[in-house]
Symmetry: C2
Subunit: 327 residues, 2 copies
């Protein structure tokens, strides 16, 4: 299996991306294609004693940044490392795609270069969100700020397939994010989507309120991209804020500092668990080939995990199963 | 000043409501009207040695519950303690209203019994949300699941007046909750609301992302009621989940338990700070008289705080100022 990796996407590109790709090659037995400036990649490999058995580099000179208009991937930045990686995937020269670059550009490239699965209205981004005992899949995370009810229905089907195939959850519980549990709650979008999800070939368990969601009471939560993005970043923001407040308590004086030493491992465990990068990348579901968007701040291990995700995604034929369930 | 208090609204009604009203009478110097079953109220006062100097009770026998359809306040439950309290307010027999009962019913009663301020499209619920160094006002919290851009503009104006008058914040910073900071972010609702908020007579500082919001970077955050409700409950759910995980670390063994003792005050301080009931009730802004919805789980102190809020709200003429700024 071949995975094409955008070597110049992400905050820690190219070094951590290249290191992660090398780890994936040796640990997961996948072949890697890197897109990006060949000279820079080779120098990076040399300077850091990174070893590949069988690396292919496709040379590009341009990079699309977080600040560029996502659609510029198709024109002004069509020569970028990300655009090239998408073309390699679309031309079937690779089986799967991983990038830690601009989320918007990944959605544009997936939708317009790789193209949608037949019957899918709009691709969407999902992500596993950590919770105390397990984790849950939230979708859409922000690819579609405005959604129609049929889109949410399809998100439910895609989330269910992903959870079953990639996360190994049998008959995963899928819920609709809403402001109450009754089917009359929310706006027109939620009320209509509720009915459609009830009729989808999934284990739809009704509405979930955002108060319950962090407890991991369901396997998958479906929502429009605006609400999903707000939710994702709010969990992050609230967690960061809480840890900052705790830190003040822990480092207040010499006695609390000593007490904190005893608790350090446990607290670091929570921090690690709640750290989104630990649960891998975000699949762009609904496009015709496996596309994984790794977290922008991914280090080598996160990139390796995203490549593992891409591998399972491909091997378990998530796309074929989505296609069969949609049509 | 007279405050009418729904004695039978909330999880801890009527005892905590009555106790809170008595505290408010003695500490804040307001006159109290309680609505509810007179015999039960009098027995409660006697059994618990509660003292009022000057209590008026308006007898009702019915109660509207959290499970009743909010609009039933107008028909099936028009004889409820909450409906009666709203009529007392509407008839100017009291200056302000406080209830810890059904949020939906408070919105219905405020909008249809008390009625809107002239020019206001839709009343909305706001609430002060705790953050590490301060707190911020979030609005709409759930009165309007679906909003139009002009409604968000009015929420901005009302939030600004409330923050200035009741919270004493000079020239409060008002932001629009969105999935990015640029004015092109979000759906049509956010993009149009952005333009309207820029032209409102407030200190509009642009979009705020949900990752930044919990840090308390602005004074007021404006959003539609669906997103606001999701956000409010997600902060609650995330905080509760974090504390549960921490508890496991703290109570792991005898050593961690001893260490935790040292940190207990600090951690309880965070818990108390992040506990929504500590920042009082939610004003229903946009209606022609002061209406405060206290948290459903309010104890006596929370009710007293909600009555204090109602008092300041009335004294500072929030409604007159909103009216002047809208028209």
């Amino acid at each position: 299996m071949k995975v094409v990796v955008d070597a110049f996407g992400g905050d820690n590109a190219p070094l951590e991306i290249i290191k992660g790709a090398a780890l994936a090659e040796s640990e997961l037995g996948v072949d890697i294609i890197l897109t990006g400036d060949e000279a820079v990649i080779n120098k990076c490999i040399e300077d850091n004693n990174i070893t590949f058995k069988n690396l292919e580099i496709v040379h590009t000179t341009d990079v699309i940044s977080m600040h560029d208009e996502p659609t510029s991937l198709l024109k002004a930045h069509k020569g970028s490392s990300m655009a090239e990686a998408f073309r390699i995937l679309a031309d079937s020269k690779a089986d799967a795609f991983v990038s830690a670059g601009s989320t918007g550009a990944v959605v544009v490239g997936g939708t317009l270069i790789v193209k949608r699965i037949k019957g899918i209205k709009r691709p969407a981004l999902g992500s596993m969100i950590p919770s105390p005992d397990s984790s849950y899949f939230l979708m859409d995370m922000g690819a579609n700020a405005e959604c129609r009810p049929e889109m949410l229905q399809q998100f439910g089907v895609m989330a269910s397939v992903y959870l079953e195939k990639v996360e190994g959850r049998e008959n995963p519980k899928i819920a609709l994010l809403n402001i109450g549990t009754e089917d009359t709650k929310g706006g027109e979008l939620q009320q209509e989507a509720y009915k459609l999800l009830e009729n989808a070939p999934i284990n739809f368990v009704g509405n979930v309120e955002s108060r319950e969601m962090p407890k991991g009471v369901v396997d998958g939560v479906v929502t429009d991209g605006f609400t999903g993005n707000i939710a994702l970043k709010l969990i992050e923001g609230t967690t960061v804020t809480m840890f900052k407040m705790l830190k003040k308590v822990f480092y207040k004086n010499i006695i609390t500092k000593l007490a904190t030493l005893t608790l350090k491992n446990g607290i670091m465990g929570i921090k690690q668990k709640m750290d989104a990068s630990e649960v891998g990348g975000a699949p762009l579901l609904g496009v015709a080939k496996p596309v994984i968007k790794a977290h922008g701040s991914s280090d080598a291990v996160a990139i390796k995990n995203a490549i593992r995700q891409a591998k399972i995604f491909t091997e378990k034929d998530v796309i074929g199963t989505i296609s069969a369930n949609i049509n």
